[in-house]
Symmetry: C2
Subunit: 145 residues, 2 copies
DNA sequence: TCAATAAAAGATATTCGTATCTTTTATTGA
DNA sequence: TCAATAAAAGATACGAATATCTTTTATTGA
């Protein structure tokens, strides 16, 4: 696996896609999303249900229903999605898996890993969900394959 | 999970411990290692068997047997351990899990993630397995809890 | 040669992330 | 009111990572 769980990868791709597709109003359905980001439909549905319950994305049932994002959520940092799905351990956990690793009681890699984690956190908190809408429109950023 | 698999975390802690314990000759047994890094003994045994087969660590059977490291392996970069266990995807993979993510066909986070991965790779290739022996002796670095 | 030691190897079990399928609930428009 | 739509919710399945236990092989020293 990469830096994040598969679940989290799908979640990030999905929120980017939803932002891109609904920035000008409207909603996008689960089938459409799944096809657009190349993810298993029913599995993604579970993930989006969860994000919806947490208020990170919006959803509506029935005809013309689907997923969308309100203004506030468009400006939300991607870190919120990651934290909702994978937890905050990616930002705070020890690289060697120690429970009590800290500056006072460091593992061999503590100092080095702090830098990596901080950089990662900086990126994920500064990137917003809606930030790539234009580049996705232009087709110079991709969410599948 | 964190940045690496649990298997990889155990592997890293184990090689640091073996280096620390056998730098001045001798060997260290699996029970001792497992207790010293707080890992399940039989599971760790499998991991070390694999590292041994790959030549990243040395082992000897029988009385006074155990695991150890030769001079060459002491100077090996930690990246070799990570790559042996988790593969190289941590250094090269797309943050969003895309197969064909590249500078020519980037995902939204491609540029940002390249920096993180490069920094990680730089750290893991510059850190050697034997680098922390002294600090482990002094008890200012830890490998358990 | 033999008994003790310790890793290697094999078999099996468990847990969790991932995935699929079915049923239910809410919404819409005719 | 009704049929169609689409997400929510529930149940189940699958596979890989994690973990445990047993048997085998190699080595040592007496």
């Amino acid at each position: 696996m990469g830096m994040f769980s598969k679940t989290c990868e799908y979640a990030m791709r999905a929120v980017f896609l939803i932002a891109h597709r609904t920035a000008n109003g409207g909603r996008v359905g689960i089938k459409d999303i799944a096809a657009s980001i190349d993810s298993p439909e029913h599995f993604l549905a579970k993930i989006l249900q969860d994000l919806s319950k947490r208020g990170i994305i919006q959803s509506a049932k029935g005809p013309h229903g689907g997923f969308y994002l309100d203004k506030k959520n468009l400006e939300r940092p991607l870190a919120d999605v990651v934290e909702a799905v994978d937890g905050s351990s990616i930002f705070t956990g020890c690289g060697l898996g120690l429970e009590e690793c800290s500056s006072e009681r460091p593992c061999p890699l503590h100092n080095d890993f702090m830098k990596v984690r901080n950089q990662l956190q900086k990126i994920l908190t500064s990137v917003t969900i809606g930030q790539f809408n234009e580049e996705l429109n232009l087709g110079i950023r991709h969410l599948k394959r």
